[in-house]
Amino acid sequence: MGLMGNLVQAELRKTTTTGLWWGLLIPTVVLALGWGLATGLLGQFFVDFASSSDVDEVSDFLGVTPDQWKVSLFGIARAINISTIFPMVFGAMAISGEINRRTITTTFLTAPSRMHAMLAKMLVYVLWGAVYGLAIMLFVGIGVVVTSDAGQLPDAGGWAMLTLVCVLSSILMTMFGVGVGALVTNVAGSVVLLLLYFLVIENVLHFVLVYLEVPAVAGFLPNGSINGLTGSVAVDLFLSTAGVVPPEIEDVLRAIAGAGGALDWWWSGLVFLGWAGIVFAGGWAVTQSKDIT
């Protein structure tokens, strides 16, 4: 095994020899399951409402009867967005946690360079991001399937696509967290900053952008782009079975799915990868020049 393989194994052992990975995985899957269940119930309620005669015009618009609308897609996208906060927090503690506990000294003493150590860490956290992503998809899926009618669920191809973007989203969020943890180098600081930004600050920014009549910019911000990754896939899957939909309705649907920025899913993914890269580069620069005293 090469130098890099050794370091990756060391980093992997670091994560498996303490309880943090499952300590964060439990609330992750509880949240995912909860969102999945709520999604199915809300979707059912909405479909029942839409099927009543008053809103017939809307169903005419979409070209299919409401019981065939795959409303669960929106809930799944939202569930993924909210659940991936946890792997991001997990990632944020990768480097800040080591600095906090002063284990970073031994880590740097046993690695050929700081860059080697950080890259190995990033690789291991990409793997963990994927594990979290699969777990999130599994539990969101269980929640949705238990509470939804078959007509509202995606087909096999849809599930596969959602799983793909869920895992991708989770990996990217974890990477972003690792970068922020290296940049801020303080466990509480980086976790609070991330939660504030993703749950509050950027949502406020989105309102400001709408007010300034440039809502599309939101798709280029970190939270906007990561939500766009899953939201766009949800909207695309919904529209593919919903018939002809006017652009105004499509915009509303994107907003519901959390993909207000209206970029294609892969574009959104690339934009967020860019953000993760910028943050990691900043974290690397900080770590590289930091005096470990």
Binding site: M1, L3, N6, L7, Q9, A10, R13, K14, T17, T18, G19, R101, R102, T103, I104, T105, T106, T107, F108, L109, T110, A111, P112, S113, S289, D291, I292, T293
Partner: protein
């Protein structure tokens, strides 16, 4: 790659933390085959120097190399140099064995090596306990075990006796000496000369970030001249007699004795006999390394003697 010489070379090393000069133009070398003590009072720059040597702190100027290379060019540093540093952390929820296995993987040695070093430092029975419950001494042993994982040629220890009980210190002393005798390099820092006096062969003494002495401990001992302390019946008569024989380094001590340097006690006694002076007491002063060390390093944080009480206590509790 590195040259495998086991040589530590510090040249004109300087570190400034903002306005504070922690280390100033420091130079010394440490050779394999002996234990070298790196001595200085707290705050003299020892830890900063060692951390620069180990690539953890970036020097403002100068170089620090191991085997002819700066730390980052060693390739697999864990196999060249092992270090026990102050404030080196452990994850409290990780067991000692798991801790060692993490770093065994990083260095690229088999897991069996982790079990071997944990036995070597005497932590075998605590291997599966979480480090959070360890005493300071146990953590110090675990840090040493970590340093030994890669079977390194160079061992650097910062205040390793901290937290060790007397038994542990005695064990460490023997261990380090036999490690050095295998032709390896051992550098050990301390703020107390007495603590390492029996362990080290060479010393580097620094104060205020600068080198004050560097060489064999024996040379340091010899640099201090012996003194004879004598209490004669007639101080002036003895002093005159000694001066007549060419002995010039004569000093009168506050307690009424004479301190005579550069001669042994027999010669002083003979002079006294010739001069008809009685001797009530005579002794050769032992070389006090600690005092010498203090002289070399004093002044960094010179305090004041407590001022005399401004007024007498009135009455008291009576």
């Amino acid at each position: 790659m590195h040259d495998g010489s086991g040589l530590i070379a510090v040249q004109n090393l300087t570190k400034q933390f903002g306005p504070v000069v922690a280390v100033q133009n420091l130079s010394f070398t440490v050779s394999p085959g002996s234990v070298t003590g790196f001595l200085g009072p707290n705050g003299a720059g020892k830890t900063t120097t060692l951390r620069m040597l180990l690539g953890l702190v970036r020097p403002t100027g100068g170089t620090a190399t191991i085997n002819g290379r700066p730390f980052h060019q060693l390739g697999q540093p864990g196999r060249v140099v092992g270090a026990v540093l102050e404030a080196q952390g452990f994850h409290p929820a990780r067991s000692a064995r798991d801790h060692l296995r993490v770093y065994a993987a990083a260095i690229g040695v088999p897991d069996a090596q982790a079990d071997q070093v944990i036995g070597l430092v005497g932590l075998g029975s605590a291997a599966d306990r979480k480090v959070g419950g360890f005493s300071l001494g146990m953590k110090q042993r675990l840090a040493l075990a970590t340093a030994l994982l890669g079977d390194p040629q160079v061992l650097v220890l910062d205040e390793p006796a901290n937290g060790l009980d007397p038994e542990g210190i005695a064990w460490l002393r023997t261990f380090l000496q036999s490690y050095a005798r295998m032709g390896r390099t051992v550098l050990i820092s301390s703020h107390l000369l007495a603590e390492v006096e029996q362990t080290v062969d060479q010393v580097v003494i620094i104060s205020r970030g600068q080198t004050m002495f560097y060489g064999p401990l024996e040379q340091l001992r010899q640099s201090q001249q012996k003194r004879v302390l004598v209490q004669p019946s007639d101080i002036n008569a003895l002093a005159t007699a000694l001066r007549a024989e060419g002995v010039q380094a004569i000093e009168q001590l506050p307690d009424g004795r004479l301190a005579v340097s550069g001669v042994d006690s027999r010669r002083v006694a003979d002079s006294a006999l010739k001069a008809g002076v009685s001797i009530y007491g005579i002794q050769e002063e032992q070389v006090d390394l600690e005092r010498l060390f203090f002289q070399l390093t004093s002044g960094q944080y010179a305090g004041y003697a407590p001022a005399p009480a401004p007024f007498k206590q009135q009455g008291g509790w009576a």
